[in-house]
Symmetry: C2
């Protein structure tokens, strides 16, 4: 079997810098670069009413999203890429460096499983 894409789901707790639009945007740009994916579009919005931030990068190889809850120190991150030239797991050290989480949970879902 092989998969068409790899989807890394990251739960970050005890984060810093997640109330800043600029910090989230920079983290997304760095994370996309680390995965070797190609950025097609990037949108970053404040997330009412809790000073959260919602940022989504549309990639040529799927997407990378970050939604934050600063009042809880929590960020939900998805890194979904396809193609052998990309590595979604490479986003993880970037998230760790940028947000300094006290705790992190990572799950990987293989998307589009097909018989080789």
């Amino acid at each position: 079997m092989k998969s068409l894409g790899r989807h890394v789901i990251v739960e970050l707790w005890g984060c810093q810098n997640i109330d800043s639009l600029q910090a989230v945007e920079e983290a997304i740009r760095d994370a996309v670069a680390a995965t070797n994916a190609t950025l097609r579009d990037l949108q970053v919005f404040p997330w009412e009413p809790y000073n959260g931030v919602s940022g989504i990068a549309i990639l040529s190889e799927s997407h990378l999203s970050i939604h934050t809850w600063p009042e809880l120190g929590y960020a939900a991150v998805d890194v979904f890429t396809c193609g052998e030239h990309t590595d979604p797991e490479a986003a993880i050290p970037v998230l760790r460096e940028r947000f300094r989480p006290q705790r992190m949970e990572v799950m990987q879902v293989s998307r589009g499983m097909i018989v080789d």
Copy 2:
């Protein structure tokens, strides 16, 4: 325990209409409406080189994405919403009606689990 968000991951196989930018855009709009989420931004792109489509809705309550591989009849869908007013599972009948999949796999991930 309660979760901050519900993330429904849908794998659709044997789909129709997934090579059409317009069909994917309409499906996203209908699916967002069904979940009772609020659309903030919608981007739909052709996905080279296989006539695929990549569409992402940024919601006030997270995001909804569809990436398609028409040559394989496959679509990868994510419906991530938060707030008790939203129901990400309500997107599923819309996907079924719009894309007529022969097979569908659904997984739900509770995001941001906190002690109540």
